[in-house]
């Protein structure tokens, strides 16, 4: 079986590139563990299920498994409560011979804002990934420098990526320019693989073959990976065209995972290539087994699929990328404007000709929020007629007037000048160059007038020509670590800290969840994870740290005053859990937080407020540093509470003989 392994972790980038070059035909990257889930299942596929594919992957002869990065990281922390670090270590154990691949944004890494260079270097150096596919939504190769340097220095494979779209400005010369910059950044073509990221799947069959041919003519030794979403329905012929032009690696997923926004089915791709006389490096038996394995659990994720089903060739117009589809529809559904989707997609098709960049994170989010914002505003203010009106206006501006602002009527000009007034901050950041250089220059002047109103001239002067890598001030990493320590009340693990660096708020919630619920996200089957145990006698068996455990539901009581008692047998021992419903009465305990807040040092009861000399103290009283202001008794020991500084009592927050808990607010004192 092991004879299918031709690249594996531990090989140098040079060896890996050489191994791919020497294949007679093509090989495959499986995106079954990342992009498949992101494109069609809102990134909800749990490692509990995905890991069942790992043993097959290990023997399949894949080039790599994309199992990390993109939005999977953030959704893992937020919604699956899984850490990407745990996922890597689980997969390393189960498929030790497979190259693990991530998808990373050049300066945004696994988040949505540019991080300073030292944070980028810190994070990239701590993540154990073999293949680093790195893209820029602006194709601003300068932005890739920090990631490239750390990855290449670590001896891992860097896979610089060009974002691809079909537009009048995305010419062969344009792309050749980008490739030239990449080759210069990476000192040649021997230690990298170039990825062409057709993230919406919009390249038509000849265009793709032609582009790859042009690149291969300029750089014959360059190994090219073609990444293409399937929404337009033409992915497989495009694959054939790319392979004939010399692309070596293709992104695929299990046939049983394929829906409408992800990637091509692995078995079909294998069949098409073989029939066309292009050898595919693949252990097909293992691939078939993996396709079957998916069927065992994919049913748990039906709820996460997009309500907007079916292939749709109009994607070539609006160009919303596969990965952005599910989250956009989720938002539209939640915001109750799902019916406006066709109009939003229409505006996107026009918008991408006004402000030119690539619709991939964070660009796709900027496009989405900006365009859905415009349509929502018109729908709210002027109904269906308003929606039709604005589409007509922009269409006229672009198609009739060729974006000549001055040729529009006066009132139309005024309306266009309000088009981006409510645009999101990230749209404005993009116009200001905070993400980097736009692919074919800044947007037209009227766009700035529209977005920034009276300040437009000042804002144009503010535009940055340098990469954010050179602009952003370094973060104080140790200070951030201390912030986290303070927030969670203990020393964080290194992995927790990196999660915090990426998404501070969500990481805190994640850490709190895991401190409370332990390894639930890793050991519970998906139905139990989502719905719990349903009826008495239902049970879940699992292993934790090498020992067997069993949880069986005995009964769920009825709700009383916001509480439900759940009786379960945990390894045969009966336990009762009191569960608070949202209606549970919360006993508010104010905690000492600010500088003037005096908290209880331990649990106990307040038996004296004030001291024997002065008697009781009240709000308004002046106290002196070191003076006893209250006394707390706990298990027959007295604890004097002393004033930390000279001050005036603003509030006495407890009554005599109150039982207080550690940290509870006793006094607020204003410093004098």
């Amino acid at each position: 079986m092991n004879n299918f392994i031709f690249v594996k972790p531990g090989m140098s980038p040079k060896e890996i590139v050489k191994a791919v070059r020497s294949l007679p035909g093509v090989c495959l990257t499986s995106v079954g563990m990342r992009d498949a889930g992101q494109s069609d299942f809102k990134n909800r596929h749990r490692i509990y299920d995905l890991k069942t594919l790992a043993p097959y992957y290990n023997n399949m002869g894949l080039f790599s498994a994309e199992c990390h990065g993109g939005a999977r990281w953030h959704v893992g922390v937020m919604n699956r409560r899984e850490s990407p670090f745990e996922e890597i270590s689980i997969l390393r154990e189960l498929m030790p011979d497979v190259l693990l691949q991530t998808l990373i944004r050049e300066t945004n890494l696994f988040g949505y804002r540019p991080y300073p260079k030292n944070v980028i270097e810190y994070v990239v150096s701590k993540v154990d990934i073999d293949v680093w596919r790195c893209f820029s939504f602006l194709n601003d190769v300068r932005n890739m420098r920090a990631v490239a340097e750390v990855v290449m220095k670590r001896g891992r494979l860097f896979e610089p990526t060009i974002s691809f779209t079909a537009a009048d400005w995305t010419t062969n010369d344009y792309y050749l320019g980008v490739v030239r910059e990449i080759v210069a950044l990476c000192a040649g073509t021997d230690e990298i693989i170039l990825c062409i990221k057709d993230m919406a799947g919009v390249g038509d069959i000849n265009r793709i073959g032609n582009l790859i041919d042009v690149i291969k003519q300029a750089y014959p030794e360059l190994v090219i990976n073609y990444h293409r979403h399937i929404t337009d329905g033409l992915a497989i012929p495009a694959f054939l065209s790319a392979a004939k032009a010399g692309a070596k690696i293709f992104d695929v997923e299990e046939d049983s995972l394929v829906r409408f926004y992800g990637h091509s089915p692995i078995l079909s791709v294998h069949a098409v290539f073989e029939e066309s006389g292009i050898p595919v490096y693949l252990n097909r038996t293992e691939a078939e087994a993996a396709v079957q394995k998916v069927r065992e659990w994919i049913g748990h994720y039906e709820w996460a699929e997009s309500p907007f089903k079916g292939l749709d060739h109009t994607v070539t117009l609006h160009k919303m990328p596969g990965g952005a589809f599910p989250s956009s529809f989720e938002q539209a559904d939640k915001g109750e404007f799902l019916h406006l989707m066709p109009a939003i997609l229409k505006v996107m098709a026009l918008y991408n000709r006004i402000v030119k960049y690539f619709d991939v994170t964070p660009g796709s989010q900027i496009t989405w929020v900006t365009c859905s914002g415009i349509i929502n505003r018109y729908a709210k203010e002027r109904g269906d007629a308003g929606v039709k009106h604005i589409i007509k206006l922009i269409t006229k501006f672009i198609e009739e007037k060729n974006q000549d602002f001055n040729s529009m009527e006066k009132d139309e000009q005024e309306e266009l000048l309000l088009l981006f007034r409510g645009a999101p901050g990230d749209f404005k950041n993009l116009l200001l160059g905070n993400y980097g250089r736009l692919p074919v220059g800044w947007a037209a002047e009227w766009v700035y007038r529209s977005a920034f109103s009276d300040e437009w001239e000042a804002k144009i002067k503010e535009r940055k020509e340098l990469s954010p890598l050179d602009l952003l001030k370094e973060d104080n990493i140790e200070k951030l670590r201390n912030d986290l320590t303070e927030n969670i009340g203990r020393k964080p693990a290194e992995e927790e800290f990196i999660l915090y660096l990426m998404h501070p708020k969500d990481a805190l919630e994640y850490i709190e969840f895991r401190d409370k619920y332990g390894e639930s996200p890793l050991v519970l089957p998906t139905d139990v994870w989502r719905e719990g145990l349903k009826k008495p006698g239902d049970k879940v068996d699992f292993e934790l740290w090498g020992k067997p455990y069993s949880i069986e539901l005995v009964s769920i009581g009825s709700e009383h005053e916001g509480l439900i008692h759940v009786v379960m047998r945990v390894n045969n021992k009966t336990r009762v859990y009191t569960v608070e419903t949202p209606r549970a009465k919360k006993i508010e305990v104010r905690l000492a937080k600010g500088a003037g807040d005096i908290g209880a040092p331990i649990n106990g009861s307040i038996w004296r407020i004030g001291n024997p000399e002065r008697g009781a103290l009240r709000a308004g009283d002046i106290v002196h540093k070191g003076e006893e202001i209250a006394n707390l008794e706990a298990m027959k020991m007295e604890n004097a509470i002393l004033a930390p500084f000279d001050g005036q009592i603003v509030e006495v927050c407890v009554k005599l003989n109150d039982t207080v808990r550690e940290g509870q607010l006793l006094f607020v004192i204003e410093k004098l």
């Binding site: 139990v528 719905e531 439900i564 006893e628 007295e638």
Partner: protein, 485 residues
């Protein structure tokens, strides 16, 4: 004079009450428990043959209420009272009331309790019996007095302020400098008043890096006084012992003989009867010991002496109270084991903040060489009104290393307490600490090593982890899918 005991009222609760009942059961002597309102369903109540409600939660209305205690004994037809430790155990007035009511007092005579209860008098008596004492002053009423004494006797800080009537670490405060003096003094007085109803204070030089060693004494009414060797109780937090062992690792045989005979001499001199303890502070660098106090009662840590000698001290107290002679002489006592005790208090092991509530799950250590003295059962409440001690864990072995090894197993692999926090993680860190293992420590060991000890707390075990998972399953089963998913 021989007296018969058929039923004992135990004027206590929790661990001491249960301990005493065990020996009574061995002897086929009936028992009566007393309980305050929150203790209605407490372990000691279930253990006893009969039980009497004696009042509300505050000790002063229940376990310290002498009239109610005597009435309960009469009502339950008990003929003797054992006070346990704490509460009324060293109250000579109560001992006298018991005797005056025609009941048998299981403990030393009221006269001896009174004599030793006054720290100042006790110290004078010790000096008279040629027992070394620490320099100090008594009957302190204001801090100027302390300052004058320090000047006159050339005493430097630290000093220690103690309640003359005290014991058990209450009303006892170490003072490091002049600034702390006034606050410490008033706190000691107030605590003394609260705990013992007497605010008399004495002050002594504080022996830095001292070790706490005590000698167990038993004596009958016929003048026979026998020691059961020493215990070392140096590991303390806030002047309260949390780990004890017997014998002491800091004594050689010469010093051991010396300290044990000194204690015996003192107790003989004062006419002691029943079980009691002479406490010393041991200056290990100077290899000198000084008299601290006499505890005129059964002590918490008596169990480790029982483990090394094979005797039942509570049984001996019953025999002495019945007027029997000690059936052995000093030369019959041969300790042949090492024993260790840890006190499981319901406290946060990081800051000793009390943790009261319901013990939702209790798994008690078993296996060779373990003795558990528990005051609770699974499902019992730990109320906030009383001492936080709820269980004693004792282990024994052929030598110190063995005893520590068994203790390690007992705490780390066998013990589970859920619902309240306990000192268990701290106790485990201590017995695993190299300084403890080598026997090199002082009464300040915990304060000096606290951060290090906390860092040794074991992070996770699979038992705790599976309960977190079970909690998750319970919540999702009850509440259904969550928004954040």
């Amino acid at each position: 004079m021989k007296r018969k005991i058929q039923k004992v009222l135990i004027a206590n609760r929790g661990v001491p009450a249960v301990r005493i009942m065990h020996t009574c059961m061995d002897r086929k002597i009936s028992t009566t428990a007393v309980y305050s309102a929150p203790d209605r369903l407490a372990h000691h109540v279930f253990m006893a043959d009969t039980a009497v409600h004696i009042g509300e939660a505050p000790p002063i209305e229940s376990y310290l209420n002498m009239d109610k205690m005597i009435a309960a004994a009469i009502k339950s037809k008990s003929d003797a009272i054992h006070p346990g430790w704490g509460f009324l155990a060293e109250n000579e007035k109560f001992a006298q009331m018991v005797i005056d009511a025609g009941l048998i007092w299981i403990g030393p005579s009221p006269e001896v309790i009174k004599m030793m209860g006054d720290k100042i008098k006790a110290k004078l008596l010790a000096q008279k019996a040629n027992v070394p004492t620490i320099t100090g002053i008594s009957d302190v009423t204001d801090i100027e007095q302390i300052k004058r004494w320090m000047k006159k006797e050339k005493v430097d800080f630290p000093i220690i302020i103690k309640a003359a009537a005290g014991g058990g670490g209450k009303g006892m405060i170490k003072v490091e400098n002049n600034e702390q003096l006034a606050q410490a003094f008033s706190q000691a007085r107030s605590e003394a008043k609260k705990a013992f109803g007497d605010e008399t204070i004495l002050v002594e030089k504080y022996i830095e890096r001292g070790r706490h060693i005590e000698v167990q004494i038993i004596a009958d009414e016929y003048g026979k006084v026998v020691h059961l060797f020493e215990r070392e109780c140096t590991i303390q937090r806030r002047n309260q012992k949390i780990i004890e062992e017997a014998p002491s690792p800091s004594l050689d045989d010469g010093l051991r003989q010396d300290i044990c005979f000194t204690a015996t001499r003192l107790m003989r001199e004062i006419g002691y009867t029943s079980a009691g303890t002479v406490e010393f502070i041991f200056d290990s660098s100077a290899r000198k010991f000084y008299f601290l106090e006499v505890n005129t009662r059964l002590q918490v840590e008596h169990g480790i002496t029982e483990l090394i000698t094979g005797l039942d001290i509570v049984g001996i107290m019953l025999d002495v109270a019945m007027g029997k002679k000690l059936p052995f002489k000093q030369s019959d006592i041969h300790p042949n084991r090492w024993a260790l005790e840890v006190r499981l208090n319901a406290e946060d092991p990081k800051n000793f903040s009390p943790s009261f509530g319901t013990i939702t799950r209790l798994q008690v250590p078993m296996g060779p060489n373990v003795r558990v003295a528990s005051g609770v059962y699974e499902g019992a409440d730990i109320p906030p009104y009383y001492d936080s001690l709820f269980m004693l864990l004792m282990t024994a072995g052929a030598n110190r290393e063995d005893a520590i090894r068994v203790m390690d197993r007992s705490i780390s692999r066998n013990l589970r307490v859920e619902g309240v926090k306990t000192l268990a993680p701290l106790l485990l860190s201590i017995i695993r600490h190299p300084a403890f293992i080598s026997g090199e420590f002082s009464t300040r060991f915990i304060e000096e090593h606290m951060d290090e000890l906390i860092s040794m707390f074991k992070e996770k075990n699979s038992e705790d982890e599976v309960l977190k998972i079970a909690r998750y399953v319970a919540e999702i089963s009850a509440l259904g899918q969550q928004k954040w998913m």
